[in-house]
Amino acid sequence: MAIIERPTDPAPVPAVAGSGAPAVVTPSQAYGVLRRPVSSTGWRSWVFTVDHKKLGIMYGVVAMFFFIMGGIEALLIRLQLAGPEGTVLSAGLYNEMFTMHATTMVFLFVMPMAAAFANYLIPLQIGARDVAFPRINAFGFWCFLAGGLFLNTSWFLGGAADGGWFMYQPNASPLYSPTNGVDFWALGLQITGIASLTGAINLIVTILNMRAPGMTLMKMPIFTWMILVVQFLLLFAMPVITVALFLLMFQRSFGATFFDVAAGADPLLWQHLFWIFGHPEVYIIVLPGFAIVSEVLPVFSRKPLFGYRFVVFSGAAIGFVGWGVWAHHMFASGLGPVSVAVFSVATMLIAIPTGVKIVNWTLTMWGGKIQFTTAMLFAVGLVVSFTIGGLSGVTHAVAPSDTQQTDTYYIVAHFHYTIFGGAVLGLFAGFYYWWPKAFGKLLNEKLGKWNFWLMMIGMNMTFGPMHIIGLQGQPRRMMNWTEARAGEGFFNLGFWNRVASVGSFILAIGVFLFLVNIWYTHRAKSNTPKAPLDPWDARTLEWITQSPPKEHNFDKVPTVHALDEFFHRKYEVDHETGEVRKVATAEEILAAEEAQGDKHIHLPSPSYWPIILAFALPVMAYGVIYNRLLIVVGGLIVLLAMFGWALEPSVADDSDYDPPAEGGGTNKELATIG
């Protein structure tokens, strides 16, 4: 770890590097097999890190990689549908494509990208030095990576999953889906699920226990609030999908018949379990985007968030009511009239808190001095797109009209407006807004605007026409359409399919420009200057420290007096004139904080065990599919890693560092060791 406080106790007996027998046998050496990885630079400092910021960045990089993969899959789908009787993909490959597109986008892009923001920002926003369980945090990240890679190896091992992202049974049983794809899917998601569950526990404890002094719940930044709601949804939704996935695994790999109608089973069991998880999941997807815009809109409107309390409570309400509506995904499955009526009404109810949010955002902008930075553009884009998606959503809360729309492109249009418009645009707003915080440089605004407009135009061209295509009756998940049934005039399917396909490539160029922008900003010859400390005149605690923040985040944990603490330190209301005037700059505030820096800062040390433990899981999963012996091998590694973990202290002993720090020096001195 880069900055380690030099031990101030009488210098411990040093263990000389390389000499076989260390002078002090410390637990970490005796039982850790290997010495603690304590390097502060190079790949080791990333692979074994437990720093929430590094983990956040790694989450982001890997999620971005999967976003590109999912995007390529989407483009292949659109290529196939660009003309009649497309021949780009075979029927089987087409099925794999849309299944893996959706799975990748949902589980390997949006959720982990949200985790990236949450991991990076939550400790900073609440004035903490790390999350509550840094090693578990690292474990979560590696589970996500291991699960994601495992899932995608299925492409090379006989074919990926092809049952659609909700993998209805018995359609996805071995009879109809004979490759191992679905097995990979079930096991891979099980592994990434561990990441979500441990992440949820970790962040909830962090938020509830580690807020800076003075930060009561109602003084917490809105981003943190929304993320807290998301973590509760994850906490309670993940176990349900776990059950479903286990049943699926037993069915496919161990001969059980949970969903086999011939054996007397009820296939609705799968649908229920999946959607009990699935509906909370859609809020898990979309709330992080909401969280980000709720932070971005006020900053660029130069006004506090309108109705903070309402936004908090409506967030919590969504989190709660979201549990009672799952069966609206099953209106067409023969649930019975009473169930349909109940779930239909519940679904209309949930539109209310969502509407509250949109109203609040609009009123936040109302009368504000709006600055259209790229981040703000994305945020406004989200509000507009999500409103469209929300409206089409209400049309299928009404069960009879849903029966018309279900399984057509109308549904595809709806959920892309909500997911792409509600979640992905929010994530991009977050990239532009927090980029200087994490990397010390502002992304180029001009490229950013191109990025935004191309994505916005592309998105509307891709998904807008799908409303028409869908109402015309083109089914989703269908690899072909024919000229013969394309219809005439304005509603000609062929025309709109082509528009959608062209749109998807414009969208892709937009996303590509984002990558270009990163390269442009950070290339070696880049003349982009270091970003100012407070480039946006922001309101929350993460801006009270350096950019990028030090390893321990804050020299002194700030004391909080108000919601939007940072804003209140910069500005004061003149009681006589009622004017708001600036009383301090970010630099002054930071200097004041640093002057009172804490003397002893102990950060948890890096560790090997999280990554070892995480990568033992795919070994077991391969075992389930190919050879039961591997399960045992993987299980043994898991056991070993857990013991190693349990016996390892969270802070490395001094003797793990070489050369051991000489005692003395002032307490405040921070040294880079190792």
Partner: protein
Amino acid sequence: MAMWLFLGSECLLFGGLISTYMLYRGRHSAELGPDQIFDIPFTSVSSFVLLMSSLTMVLAVSAAAQKDDRRTNLWLTITALLGATFVGGQVYEFTVMYREGLGFTTSLFSSSFYTLTGFHGVHVTVGIIMLMALVGINKRSRVPGDKAEVVEMVGLYWHFVDVVWIIIFTLVYLIPA
């Protein structure tokens, strides 16, 4: 707190498994249904054993709070042994059922029954491993009672597993299908 959150989450896991069982408990052949196959007196004894292990766990936790490592280890070991007895009983129960012809794939009832109770058994086993690891850690630690927090945490887990069994015992075994 983390443990409580985890247990809250586990409620939904076991809830799902129990519901699946409830849905399928009546789907079996005439001879191999719950009412024919369960041995209530036997299971009630093993339920009792698990219940008593909760008591010994409590005693371990309070010994740890009083920084009495020796007594802590004693109670932890007894708890682990009682847990092992329970798991042993379960293995025995499974073998008997298997011999009577109830395999994992015999019927929907059998699959969901074995899945549910098997999951619970795995939880108990994990608990036993944690208890043994705790004894090991305690033995090596130089500061008496410095692992009291961890003992308490494992205790919560252990009681939870017991509580789940209380529910399974009633819903699965005692209420006639």
